[in-house]
Symmetry: C2
Subunit: 533 residues, 2 copies
């Protein structure tokens, strides 16, 4: 059962029958009856009937003898009456969408009950026009190929969404034209491309988007095939590099309402970190992610089927153990696998505190030496660590870690920690002041916080501090739909958050250098991690 | 100079230049700058930018280096930002429209200054589908002639409005696509036809319109060719027979804000009467008009060129004098001419107190007898009074008054007075309690209140009580545009007015019978009028 009033609601109305003594017009009669039936919180809202709906609504209202159900959309202090039905529908479907640059994730929710009707994911077809954000921004400016690049990118994402919507509708046995609203969270560039507006200035100093907080608009205005009056609510962003997906995460994790100071970490292409409570919010973002997201590490890949997500080296038996997602034959390493691997290699003294492979060290045990001999190999002219042999791999290619991958990983982990320290210093707190650290996304779901601490990537706090929160971007979008007050709350979050630009931050650069050791230049910051100086 | 904040306003904005330290997006920057520049009364309004405008506005804002002027529309507690311009436009045109069943009257106003840019009238092309409201309601239901009757009627009025708009725009040297808003007042049926919605139930018991108070909508939704974001505000009606034109009149005459009780009389096809003050409003309407509007009296016509608007009989010299509108050769009698004529005939004792022609009476002077002989003639088998001889008339037809015309006139005047008495009795007041009687329209402009009193049509009050107020329906529509608070006020008027249905009112029927004498069954009600009993 829903405890909140959703964005879209079904309300039973019983109007007084018209008579010579009550000559109120049909629609005014309907509005008056609706106002009487509204829950107390909405009683002061005025009711608006869109011009495009008046004929249909009036006809249904008369046909049902002035008694039935109306569907209303909450819209910034007024209600929009979009439909009248004689019998209550089985569900009141709405769509929550996490608009990723490679994948879309979506939930079809029922505003009658708050239940999930269907959930799914789809490829963002924009990938055919460019894998990453920057390529797409440049593609958007192209005028060739019989169309404008921007229009092609918009079309690609709209087709992707309509396709995913159709799948979910089929699964839930509802019609797409009955879907009443959409809430979308995505990074700033993805939102620009969805709206068909130029992302040109996002990647050009001083990095100003065209819009951070678009006003709600009709789904049909961008070609989404839902109810004709369905509106789109886009989670507001805070800047070119701090998008609505993060604001959505803040909403979902309740950072903006927390009594104690908490933190939210979201690692995608960028690492985006927010800290705060009900009084204040501070955030920054930096390029900490690439090594963890599949872009940089040669064997890196997204957390999907075939990704090695967990690695363990038994330092008694010198057995290497790994586990891949969905237990399918391995194709590469995802972020958590990489973190596990490097942490285990460090603890096994096969990677030193500078993040370099070492084959020998003073007092090296014989078993360790044999293990190193089997796994630390020369391949294509460089030293690599063999995780999965070619025979066991999914594509007959061995899964290995090269020194180059290791270097990228070290930069990522250093950036991550530097971001966290910079942020906490900004407000004069210490990590131990944090009541909770929510870790979003696949990163949060798969990593072992202890291993990330071993690497000096996350601060050395009790493990219970860390909480995986899943796709908080999608969850925030769901909240926009299930709680009519949440959109205003998201705007308030965007308004009150302080964003630290790391590119021009001196402290970050200093902290970054200090973090390029395992676990850190200052091992006292990580008492739980063994030091091998 | 405007003393009010109009519905559409031009506001200068000067935004902070974007920098690395201020990464607010273009449109959010514009909104913030606008909010700072708003007049105090609007400071709490949120600002909405329609999706269809964002690309254009952002581009103009950048091109103008973040400084210029925005055009905003006031919309029920929020502002809609529809345009950004680098240089201030010369005017901010908006259209006020009085939607009559035969004629449209319109004013093109400038929201920058409050000035009238152009004013004009046009035929309502719906007349080709039926002269009166009832015919059009029936025509609307026709499905033949390759189209639906309703669609044809809507198209006819839209073409009429677009044509009139073009004329006014040409005269004012502005472009139609720069016209920012429309306010329309019209009777309930005319509003239904404008909106393209069925007026079917208006003329069927219990006479319920489809809508009394349509919410504002975009002009383009009904095919009006103005600014793409121009909205239409329709003055709300109170019922099938009490339309937005009357609510507009109440707004224009300020009845709803008057400290002393006042009255507004509007005679068109119906006589519509409102009485009240800032505390209460009461109204009724009845078929008092036909004889005065040209429909019933054979020689009757609208107050237009060639209509005899004034008649005098000199009872010393027994000369008949008349004056036609625009002094063109006479074609017929308009309402005021008819009233003048019958009052003069009564005073000259050529019409008796029952409203019948009399050629003789005891003690008749010789001069009067000669006059009667010249003017009271037999024509086509009936007795008529000759006003203008064929030789002087505009179409070689004499202008005459027949007994049938006179009977219709008597019914009209009786209905009028009965309406007024019923209304005043309803609230337990007397006519002498009225501080002011506003008389709207051509009727108010042309009639001589003394003559209407002589006939017993208007109450016997000091002549200064009566005030012609012109086209108050159009003036109310103008107010909607020039004062952003006026539309809410019109809704409040519609909400608070009490409407008396005369068709089911016993008192009215009794008063009607008592009023079928000149001046009245009870001559003591009219001390200023000579009685010839």
């Amino acid at each position: 059962m829903l405890k909140t009033i959703p964005l879209v609601a079904l309300i039973r109305v019983e109007a007084v029958q018209p008579s010579l003594h009550d000559n109120t017009a049909d629609l005014d009669r309907l509005k008056a009856a609706l106002t009487e039936s509204l829950p107390a919180q909405l009683r002061s809202c005025s009711v608006h009937i869109p011009f495009a709906c008046i004929v249909e609504i009036a006809a249904s209202f008369r046909a049902a003898d002035f008694t039935g159900y109306v569907i209303v959309h909450y819209e910034h202090d007024h209600l929009v009456l979009v439909d009248f039905v004689a019998e209550p529908p089985k569900s009141l479907p709405v769509l929550a969408l996490d608009l990723g640059s490679t994948h879309l994730e979506a939930t079809l929710l029922d505003c009658l009950t708050g239940d999930t009707l269907a959930r799914g994911a789809a490829l963002n077809r924009q990938v055919t026009h460019g894998a990453d954000i920057l390529t797409r921004i440049h593609f958007a400016e192209r005028k060739d190929e019989g169309g404008k690049g921007l229009a092609l990118l918009q079309e690609a994402v709209i087709v992707s969404i309509n396709g995913l919507l159709d799948e979910l509708c089929q699964e839930a046995e509802v019609k797409a034209q009955d879907v009443q609203a959409v809430a979308v969270s995505g990074n700033t560039t993805m939102v620009h491309l969805l709206l068909g507006i130029s992302p040109r200035h996002i990647c050009r100093e001083p990095y100003i988007p065209l819009v951070n907080a678009p006003d709600p608009f009709l789904a049909q205005e961008i070609g989404l095939k839902l109810h004709k009056q369905a509106t789109v609510r886009v989670l507001p962003g805070r800047g070119s590099y701090f998008g609505g997906d993060l604001i959505s995460g803040i909403l979902a994790t309740g950072l903006d309402q927390a009594e104690e100071t908490c933190m939210l970490i979201d690692v995608g292409t960028n690492a985006e970190v927010v800290m705060g409570n009900s009084e204040w919010l501070i955030a920054c973002a930096g390029a900490a992610g690439p090594a963890l997201e599949g872009g940089v590490a040669r064997m890196g890949m997204r957390a999907a089927s075939g990704a090695v997500e967990h690695v363990a080296i038994d330092r008694n038996t010198w057995q290497l153990d790994w586990r891949s997602i969905n237990e399918t034959p391995p194709l590469g390493l995802c972020g958590s696998g990489l973190i596990d691997l490097v942490a285990e290699l460090y603890l096994a003294r096969i990677v030193d505190l500078r993040g370099k492979f070492q084959s020998t060290f003073p007092g090296q045990p014989a078993a360790q030496r044999r293990f190193v001999k089997e796994h630390l190999l020369e391949m294509g002219g460089e030293q690599v660590f063999l995780v999965v042999a070619a025979g066991e791999a999914g594509n007959a290619e061995p899964v290995v870690l090269s020194q180059l991958d290791l270097d990228a990983m070290m930069r990522s982990k250093a950036a991550m920690y530097a971001i966290l320290v910079t942020l906490i210093n900004q407000v004069g707190l210490e990590f131990s002041d944090l009541a909770r650290i929510a870790v979003a996304g696949a990163f949060g779901k798969h990593i072992d916080p202890q291993q990330a601490i071993t690497l000096g990537m996350l601060p050395d706090l009790p493990l219970t501090t860390f909480e995986p929160v899943g796709n908080s971007s999608l969850r925030g979008a769901e909240m926009i739909l299930l709680d009519h007050t949440a959109f205003a709350r998201s705007l308030e979050i965007a308004r009150k958050i302080t964003y630290i630009e790391l590119n021009v931050n001196q402290e970050f650069m200093i902290r970054f250098s200090g973090s390029r050791f395992i676990p850190h230049t200052d091992p006292e910051l990580f008492p739980s991690v063994p030091s091998f100086r």
